[in-house]
Amino acid sequence: MNVVAVPGEMKDHKVLVYALSTCVWCKRTKEFLKDRKVHYEYVDVDLASPEDRKRIDDRRLIVGFKLDDLKEALELR
């Protein structure tokens, strides 16, 4: 699976974004994380193979661009 890492100072939480390369909300989420210097990884699911798509880990799943939920989960103000 093609997982891209975006480096950042904040590494307290393991963050993996399942995104679509064409989705604006996904883009905003990635920008938010980068802006807050959160270390994260992402997978553009639309560019992944069908086999890879089945391997989705959903331990703490936030669906949608939910800024408040993201801030709470990442312990950001």
Binding site: L20, C23, W25, P50, R53
Partner: protein, 160 residues
């Protein structure tokens, strides 16, 4: 449509990319299976747009918005997915189909146009007009299939 210029621009680019790779403008915020018949509900404008705009003020990807959102009186937020979960899950599991495996109903199109030659096409069902080399797989307004499109000659007569 979305009042924010950069947002709108990104949405339209996403739509364009989907049209290029799947052959139809599938919603940029949803995973397309690549299967035309299966994805019909999420081809823009999607089936879920109207109830979503009415209830939440915006469609799922944020392209179409309600008047108060357009006027920035109400904030634009991300909304829950209305597409049935089973369909969402199946899209993940389906093997991708390339545009070459588009249903044979498109075989009825006569003579391949000369590369780069743009023509006027109109939808016989709703009158939508588009200027392209070939008619779209589906009418973005009324969802009529490709066969419903006829060419308009530059002049007055319609062909076919």
């Amino acid at each position: 449509m979305n009042p924010e210029e950069s947002f709108l621009k990104d949405l339209l680019e996403g739509l364009k990319k989907n049209e290029e790779r799947y052959g139809y403008p599938s919603c940029p915020c949803r995973l397309a299976s690549g299967n035309f018949d299966f994805d019909k509900d999420i081809i823009c404008p999607c089936e879920y747009r109207d109830p979503d705009v009415e209830e939440f003020g915006t469609c799922y990807c944020g392209l179409y918005v309600r008047k108060d959102v357009f006027e920035s009186k109400t904030p634009l937020v991300s909304i829950p997915e209305r597409r049935p979960r089973e369909k969402q899950m199946r899209a993940y599991a389906m093997p991708e189909e390339t545009p070459s495996s588009v249903p044979s109903s498109t075989a009825g199109i006569t003579a391949k146009p000369v590369k780069g030659e743009l023509k006027l096409w109109y939808c016989k069902q709703c009158g939508y007009v588009v200027f392209r080399e070939e008619p779209p797989y589906i009418c973005p307004i009324c969802k009529a299939k490709r066969e419903f499109f006829a060419e308009i000659g530059i002049g007055t007569h319609t062909l076919g």
